[in-house]
């Protein structure tokens, strides 16, 4: 048992749940769909981290693995990205993609919870088995869902944040939002980096990436929602919100 596979994912989980609380609190005040979806996405992030920490401390559990794979591996990025779609895309795209994501998520839930698992497969030639890995899923076709959801999530969440940052930069307005969006984009990329590192057998890469991601996105959200001294007139802030 080591720090990276036990306390680190729990820490990511706690940060994610606190982040989700603040996002959902903002949703309660403003009733904007993107805030609700980001809040749900961060709860998924927190569930993923909790399951990883649980595995590090207590070992294999079928239910915990399925919850981790569904929320932490398949859904989290896509739901966060869907929030950005609601923020940036014009009607009817948010609704259309939300319906597709909802149906896809239900299908993913069904596939993950009916999949055959073999815990011994968590340990492979490049994985020590100290971290959770989708290799434990025996049933074919389940793991192929992950890149579909994650590509959608990465393009919408990271691309959306980068695009917003560029728009604010081009107009030289709302510096706090420019910085916040860059941090959110960087934070959203961190788990993708970690996941790629994990696939190449770098120990702890995924969990470290997830922790860095949760921290950066939290700071980015705080920065984007907290105007700086030298920022622009309130009319512009309202338009950007």
């Amino acid at each position: 048992m080591d720090f990276v596979t036990t306390y680190l994912p729990f820490l990511s989980s706690v940060i994610s749940f606190i982040f989700a609380f603040f996002v959902l609190k903002r949703y309660a005040q403003r009733r904007k769909n993107h805030l609700l979806l980001w809040g749900i996405g961060m709860i998924f992030y927190g569930i993923g981290g909790f399951c990883e920490g649980y595995y590090g401390f207590f070992g294999w559990n079928d239910l915990v693995f399925r919850l981790w794979y569904l929320f932490g591996a398949i859904l989290v990025a896509a739901w966060l990205g869907q929030g950005t779609v609601f923020l940036l895309a014009k009607k009817p795209w948010p609704t259309i993609t939300m319906v597709l994501l909802g149906l896809g998520s239900i299908y993913g839930l069904f596939r993950v919870f009916t999949a055959e698992l073999d815990p011994s497969l968590v340990t492979t030639s490049i994985h020590t088995g100290s971290e959770l890995s989708g290799h434990a899923i025996v049933t074919s076709g389940v793991r192929s869902l992950t890149p579909i959801f994650n590509i959608y999530g990465t393009i919408t969440l990271v691309g959306g944040a980068a695009w917003s940052a560029w728009i604010f930069f081009r107009k030289r307005v709302l510096l706090h939002r420019t910085i916040g969006n860059i941090l959110i984009a960087a934070g959203a990329l961190a788990p993708a980096f970690g996941g790629a590192g994990s696939r190449f057998g770098i120990p702890g890469a995924l969990y470290i990436g997830e922790l860095i991601g949760a921290i950066l996105m939290f700071i980015g959200f705080w920065r984007a929602t907290t105007p700086m001294k030298a920022d622009q007139p309130e009319a512009v802030i309202a338009a950007a919100d």
């Binding site: 590509i151 940052a165 930069f169 107009k171 420019t178 990329l189 696939r199």
Partner: protein, 52 residues
């Protein structure tokens, strides 16, 4: 006339020198990384890149 004034105002606005340099670099790096991650993901999914 109004549009011209607005354009002029927009051109005059600027962030501090540090942010003027750092932000475009950061956005460029993020976009490059997205492209890299997507290529890697597609490569692994299609079996063109072998992990390990």
């Amino acid at each position: 006339m109004t549009n011209h004034n607005q354009d002029t105002k927009e051109k005059e606005r600027s962030y501090s020198p540090f942010y003027e340099k750092a932000i475009p670099v950061a956005i460029f790096v993020i976009v490059a990384v997205i492209i890299g991650v997507l290529i890697l993901t597609f490569g692994i999914a299609l079996g063109l890149i072998q992990p390990g």
